[in-house]
């Protein structure tokens, strides 16, 4: 073998390894071994782990974890798959974060959970009602996590979730109150800070979404923030050209094309190319009868033009259920210019499902698996990018979030 042949083979092997890593495969002596996937499910009454077999055809549900706790988010650390973090509270007890370092077998509570700064006597300070969102930090910062809370607060841990500190550039920002609005500006379940997104090219570049408040961006690791809402509607405000005060439900950044953002907003589905600097309502290309209102938005791991949404009825009094009781996901494969209905296997009628913003996820297999959980406790999955769906489990509590993990 010549040197150039060796180099070519080396490059090919490297490329193959990277592709396999992306799709969850490991390669041994030319044979592909797949590590089974699991779905980490957060519900109103505890967390569950739904473990799949290698083919993703059979799934087994775990016993409840922290039964009775309201779990808003449970997420594996892609930098350290042994680590899983969970944001929880109960109806009576205050919010906290639990951490597992053995893939969910055992759990330990954070020594210092996310909390706002105590204010001087006589002043009214903010209190974290619940931790709503968890995001692992940049790959160059192992152990760093971010948490978003209700009411809107941003917190950072540098020790894998053991201790948390407020991000002062946001929580103590003199503009924070203006950004987030007042008591009437939250969601029915309280105002949220969510969609904390780290630019894969730069650990200092962070986005966040607030319901309400809008999309914001920091270039200095949270030290300062600026709104990023140009072009996005705010039907619930008298001025459509406001700089902030919008209601993004779910914002996503594609790791392979970080200059592109998508969001499922209270007022439609949007895409932004950062070079253009303006949100474009790609939801206008959805069927008018269905509309473009919903909570979740999920990206394809390898194709920045492909995304899935799960529309809901956002008309009249906002039922937030599947339009006409006929649930369907919709997929775009051209960055939102067109959308295709995906309902094979889903109920054809009389199914008034609601899928919350964190309750839809995709895996990195080929073809991509797509999963969603409903407030009525069903988990549905597709092994073929949404072409057909199977119900993986029923009768769980109200589902808040679903995340894909390595089992």
């Amino acid at each position: 073998m010549t040197k150039s042949n060796r180099d070519e083979k080396k490059a090919k092997d490297k490329k193959s390894k990277r592709a396999n890593a992306d799709s969850g495969k490991t390669e041994t002596d030319g044979r592909i071994a797949r590590r089974p996937l699991a779905l980490l499910i957060a519900t109103r009454k505890g967390a569950f782990i739904l473990r799949g077999n290698k083919s993703r055809r059979n799934w087994e549900i775990s016993e409840p974890i922290f039964l009775g706790h309201t779990v808003h988010h449970i997420l594996q650390d892609p930098r350290d798959p042994e680590s899983i973090l969970m944001a929880a509270r109960t109806g009576h007890l205050g919010p906290t974060v639990f951490r597992s370092i053995d893939r969910g077998k055992n759990w330990v509570e954070a020594e210092r959970p996310p909390a706002f700064r105590k204010v001087p006597e006589g002043q009214k300070g903010l209190v974290v009602d619940h931790v709503f969102w968890l995001t692992p930090g940049h790959p160059s910062e192992p152990g760093v996590w971010y948490a978003g809370s209700s009411p809107q607060g941003l917190f950072r841990s540098e020790d894998g979730g053991k201790t948390w500190d407020g991000v002062d550039g946001f929580n103590e920002n003199p503009m924070r109150h203006a950004w987030v609005g007042g008591d009437q500006d939250g969601t029915p379940d309280g105002p949220k800070l969510h969609s904390v997104l780290i630019d894969p090219r730069d650990a200092n570049h962070i986005y966040l979404g607030m319901s309400m408040g809008g999309v914001f961006e920091s270039l200095d690791k949270g030290g300062s923030w600026k709104p990023l809402n140009k072009g996005c509607a705010a039907d619930f405000l008298p001025d459509q050209n406001v700089e902030y005060g919008h209601d993004p439900h779910c914002v996503r950044l594609h790791p392979l094309m970080p200059e592109r953002l998508y969001q499922q907003n209270h007022c439609g589905i949007y895409r932004m190319e950062r070079g253009a600097g303006e949100w474009i309502r790609v939801g206008d290309n959805m069927p008018k009868k269905v509309g473009d209102i919903g909570f979740p938005l999920v990206l394809h791991p390898r194709d920045p033009d492909t995304a899935w949404v799960f529309p809901m009825d956002g008309t009249t009094v906002w039922p937030r259920t599947s339009p006409e009781g006929k649930p369907a996901a919709y997929v775009t494969q051209d960055a939102g210019n067109s959308w295709k209905r995906l309902d094979k296997g889903l109920p054809k009628r009389d199914a008034w499902l609601t899928v919350k913003r964190q309750a839809m996820a995709s895996d990195s297999r080929d073809p991509v698996g797509v999963y969603f959980g409903t407030t009525s406790g069903e988990v549905w999955g597709s092994r073929n990018e949404g072409k057909s769906w199977d119900c993986l489990v029923r009768s769980l509590p109200h589902i808040y979030s679903i995340e894909v993990a390595e089992s």
Binding site: T90, L93, P113, G125, V127
Partner: protein, 86 residues
Amino acid sequence: MKVHIPTALRSYTGGLGEVEAEGATLDHLLRELDRRYPGFRFRIIDEQDGIRSHIKIFIDMEQARDIRATLREADEVSILLALSGG
């Protein structure tokens, strides 16, 4: 003094429904309990030192509204889950 622990907090106290602890004020008492049972205090007292809205604390038969409430050696403290869910 005797402190009654509700079921929801017994995962912290190793299953004990009643523990002995000391403190000149409710705050001191709860900090002592937090030292022994890490994480205990924040589940019932928020970061502004307010008693969480679905928690009630009684000193003998009187409801405490503030963690600065003083305690006497003979007091009994009861931490209760408020009847807030039907």
